[in-house]
């Protein structure tokens, strides 16, 4: 035997072994090759041929507009027919994907973030199920998916994905994603903040086939219905999403019939490639350099602690690098962790909504942008960490990036949007669940999460309760309509609260208050999942202040509906008046952070929260005094704020402004600033500390060194210091155990004092 024969033999063996291993994978978990990449797929031969055949931009644009109209049409359909609360108010999206899985066109309305993540499951299906004899892909199939680890935000959102064929060859995918809400998690409503393991988070659907010959498979549908609290919803929306995907299929086929298959294939691919090229061109216009932001998330939803989210954004030529290293470690038994791909999806949306909204809504827009995170950090969490409330870390990451972008863009000649202070970034709404007046078990949420305040802009105020951070067009719903289905009322709804304002030359858009109570159910409860009760979550820009912090307020142990009947004058219709005047005798009034795990609400007990304000822009002393008076007229601010923050002098009765006195007051404040301000070098000498305050639970790096990660101290667990390349997940104690330990310590102290007194 010659040497070369030996080598052949060796290669054959190696091939056999590789084939054997490929055929006998024990478990097809999320594929890092798919999950850690967000660039568009390489151009296929078919695409190459099609693009050579049809390259007229006018024709390709016509086709793209036609398909865009199809996406918008299906968005409307899904919104009108969808049964989920989220569907009714626009928390959904539809899109068309290339055969390789890239999102090529998304509906104009809805949550872009969903669609920009569906390419992962499609790529998984292509890679693992296409040639799998027990699965396969053929015309008439449909796949379902919701697990964020295979590409999604969190598993309350469900996608249905359908391949589109022309003459036996796949030409595209259609996808529809809806925030379904209920998913069988440990708490109702689909976003369980009590989840301590991924297995507490409910359905974890890796992509699987649930449709054959355009029909939902009854056995699988039944299994899914059996796994959630809303079997009706699960079935209804699977049907609706399938119908919507079929309409997209119809539109793609119609375009093929009219323009030819090559033209459609060429149009989808050309849109992606051109978007990527255009983003690179636009980036070259930004100044070269690095912009940095630090944001402190102030809790896990189970406890308050400081969770550092920082980004260093570097622009170099046509490249943008977002480096989040030095941010908080992941939490092993809390669900505020973010899967890296979810973070990228959210950041993609930042650029498409707030920076280049004129670009086609496809995933290539984010392709030239790089994201770097520490492994096992809260923004790049590992497989076994829960992620149902990933928003608690990736929303702050979005805000950090939004602030950086504004600092790059201000001096840049070509802009496609206003320079804007950060949008409010928390989903301040009630999640609810229980037994309805129709005796149905349900779990879902109020669309009020969509009422976030807009950030102030460089030349005007932010808009009040205008849209969520994750969708440009969404609705906040009609409470009266909700009440037909669910047994709770919002006694106060959509009422702006005085002084809930991020101050500045231009103020942030404000948020409204919500006071909810159970009227008609023997078993009903609420949940709330937001951070920002101790540290503001939405900062301002260029001297503008942040939003205030937001508590959850409760009134328990009283049926306020009875008081409304017997003594209606006692009722106060604002959180502040209820909490500060305590009008209901015998009730218990409490204020908490906004991480409320599911809790039963008896008839007439009150749960009270506030939508948040967008960040302020510029110096408060630059605010047009006339706008301050306007805010007073509209009851957006108090007289104290007008005088103390904005330094405006006026007659409080008539609101007639004293121009001279205002100028004087403002000059005096500027002089006072110069007096109390300390030169930077002198200031940092006394301010800078080598590590976080010893008594503050702190997670993440400190100062400029991003490689040293602090964790703790918390509830008797001492502070740990780790290297960023060897992060260990953080275990948090059960808040009940922490409380018991606190009370036991108090008890011991009391017993000690009693014993001492006895001697």
């Amino acid at each position: 035997m010659g040497k070369s024969e030996n080598l052949d033999e060796h290669n054959r063996e190696q091939e056999l072994i590789s084939q054997f291993l490929a055929d006998n994978v024990l478990f097809l978990g999320p594929d890092p090759e798919i999950m850690e990449h967000h660039d568009i797929a390489p151009r296929t031969e078919t695409e190459d041929r099609a693009m050579a055949k049809e390259s007229d931009p006018a024709v390709l644009t016509l086709v793209r507009d036609r398909l865009q109209a199809g996406c918008n049409e299906t968005f409307e359909m899904l919104e009108q027919m969808g049964a989920a609360e989220g569907a009714k108010w626009g928390d959904l999206i539809t899109g068309i994907f290339t055969p390789s899985g890239d999102l090529a066109i998304a509906s104009t309305g809805g949550v872009l973030l969903f669609a920009s993540l569906v390419h992962h499951p499609i790529k998984f299906i292509n890679k693992y199920w296409a040639n799998e004899p027990t699965v396969g892909i053929k015309e008439g199939d449909g796949f379902i998916h919701n697990d964020a680890r295979y590409g999604n935000i969190h598993n309350t959102d469900q996608s249905l994905i359908v391949p589109i064929y022309h003459e036996g060859k796949m030409v595209a995918w259609a996808g529809a994603t809806v925030h379904e809400g209920e998913n069988g998690a440990i708490e109702p409503g689909g976003m369980p903040s009590a989840a301590e393991q991924v297995y507490d988070e409910g359905l974890k659907m890796s992509p699987f086939k649930v449709v054959e010959n355009y029909e939902l498979k009854k056995d699988l549908v039944t299994y899914l219905q059996n796994s959630v609290r809303s079997p009706k919803l699960q079935y209804e929306d699977m049907k609706v999403k399938l119908f919507v995907c079929r309409r997209l299929e119809q539109r793609v086929k119609a375009a093929i019939a009219e323009f030819g298959v090559e033209t459609v294939v060429s149009s989808l691919r050309r849109g992606l490639e051109d978007s990527k090229t255009e983003v690179k061109r636009r980036l070259t216009e930004w100044p070269e350099g690095t912009v940095r932001t630090v944001i402190m998330a102030d809790g896990t939803l189970r406890e308050n602690c400081l969770i550092k989210i920082q980004v260093s954004m570097e622009k170099k030529g046509d490249e943008l690098i977002l480096d989040f290293r030095g941010s908080s470690p992941e939490f092993a038994n809390r669900c505020n962790n973010t899967v890296l791909s979810s973070l990228k999806g959210m950041l993609c949306q930042l650029f498409l909504m707030f920076v280049w909204p004129d670009l086609p809504r496809n995933q290539a827009v984010f392709a030239p942008i790089r994201v770097i995170c520490d492994k096992k950090s809260a923004l790049h969490s590992s497989y076994l960490t829960p992620n149902a409330e990933s928003m608690m870390t990736f929303f702050p990451a979005f805000t950090a990036a939004q602030l950086c972008v504004a600092k790059f863009l201000y001096g840049c000649p070509s802009k496609y949007t206003k320079v804007i202070a950060p949008w409010h970034n928390m989903i301040r709404t009630f999640i609810w669940g229980g037994l309805t007046q129709h005796n149905e078990m349900v779990g879902n949420l109020c669309a009020d999460l969509n009422g976030m305040g807009g950030g102030a802009r460089a030349d005007r105020d932010g808009e009040h309760s205008v849209a969520p951070i994750f969708a440009s067009m969404a609705d906040t719903g009609e409470q009266e309509l909700n009440e037909e289905d669910v047994p709770f009322l919002q006694i106060v709804s959509k009422k702006l609260m005085r002084d809930n304002q991020a101050f500045g030359k231009y103020r942030g858009g404000q948020g409204y208050e919500m006071i909810a109570s159970n009227l008609k159910s023997s078993m009903w409860g609420f949940m709330v999942c937001c951070i920002g009760s101790k540290v503001s979550c939405t900062p301002g820009l260029f001297g503008g202040y942040s939003s205030p912090t937001y508590p959850l307020c409760k009134v328990k142990g009283v049926d306020t509906f009875e008081i409304m009947k017997s003594d209606p004058k006692k009722w106060e219709f604002s959180i502040v008046d209820i909490m500060n005047k305590k009008p209901f005798e015998g009730a218990k009034y409490t204020a908490h952070h906004m991480g409320l795990q599911f809790e039963l609400c008896n008839r007439g007990e009150l749960y009270m929260i506030m939508q948040g304000s967008g960040g302020g822009y510029g110096d408060v002393l630059d605010r047009d005094p006339d706008l301050v008076i306007k805010d007073l007229e509209e009851d957006l601010i108090s007289h104290e704020t007008a005088r103390r923050i904005y330094h405006v002098v006026y007659n409080p009765e008539t609101l007639v402004m004293d121009v001279e006195a205002t100028k004087k007051a403002r000059d005096a404040e500027r002089a006072a600033r110069k007096k109390r301000g300390v030169p930077f070098k002198q200031f940092v000498k006394q301010w800078n500390k080598p590590e976080p305050p010893a008594d503050v639970p702190y997670y993440g790096s400190w100062g400029t060194d991003s490689t040293k990660i602090y964790a703790g101290p918390f509830a008797g667990i001492p502070r740990k210091v780790m290297s960023s390349d060897a992060i260990e997940s953080i275990f948090m104690p059960n808040p009940r155990d922490v409380r018991i330990a606190e009370l036991e310590a108090k008890l011991r102290e009391c017993e000690g004092r009693v014993a001492k007194a006895g001697k």
Partner: protein, 145 residues
């Protein structure tokens, strides 16, 4: 050539200086953090975001916790303008938030014209006018005069 970089700061490319756009104060070398040329004051956040709920009764009041966060206010030494408001835990070193490549900036601006205020703020969405609405009082005043 002076290039505005924020609402209140610009870079004088010829002299390589950060400048205050309000009073022309020379803040400091453009190749350094602009913060080094400003005055700083660490502020109890409750002075700005006052407690709205009774702080004697409640731990959470709409006001931030000063033990967890402070506001670093950066003032122009010339005119006292609030250039930046940075929210940080007590003792956390200020962030070097803007570090631009001055040579590259010079190359980029070699062929550019100065930007108008409207260009700095960014384009309007279709259908929105530039003017902010004025208060009823002022309108009334205008009618009267």
């Amino acid at each position: 050539m002076k290039v505005p970089m924020t609402e209140y700061l610009e870079i004088d490319l010829d002299r390589e200086l950060w400048m205050c756009r309000v009073c022309n104060h020379e803040v400091g070398p453009a190749r350094q953090s602009y913060k080094e040329g400003l005055l700083v004051h660490a502020r109890d956040p409750r002075e700005i975001h006052k407690p709205i709920l009774n702080p004697e009764w409640y731990e959470f009041t709409f006001a931030p916790d000063p033990k967890w966060v402070q506001i670093l206010e950066y003032y122009c030494p010339g005119c006292g303008t609030l250039v930046e408001a940075e929210y940080l835990p007590p003792g956390h070193p200020p962030v070097v938030d803007m570090e631009f490549d001055i040579d590259a900036l010079k190359r980029q601006w070699a062929g550019r014209k100065p930007l108008t205020e409207a260009e700095l703020a960014g384009p309007d969405m279709a259908g929105l006018s530039h003017q902010h609405s004025h208060s009823r009082k002022q309108k009334a005043h205008k009618h009267g005069s």
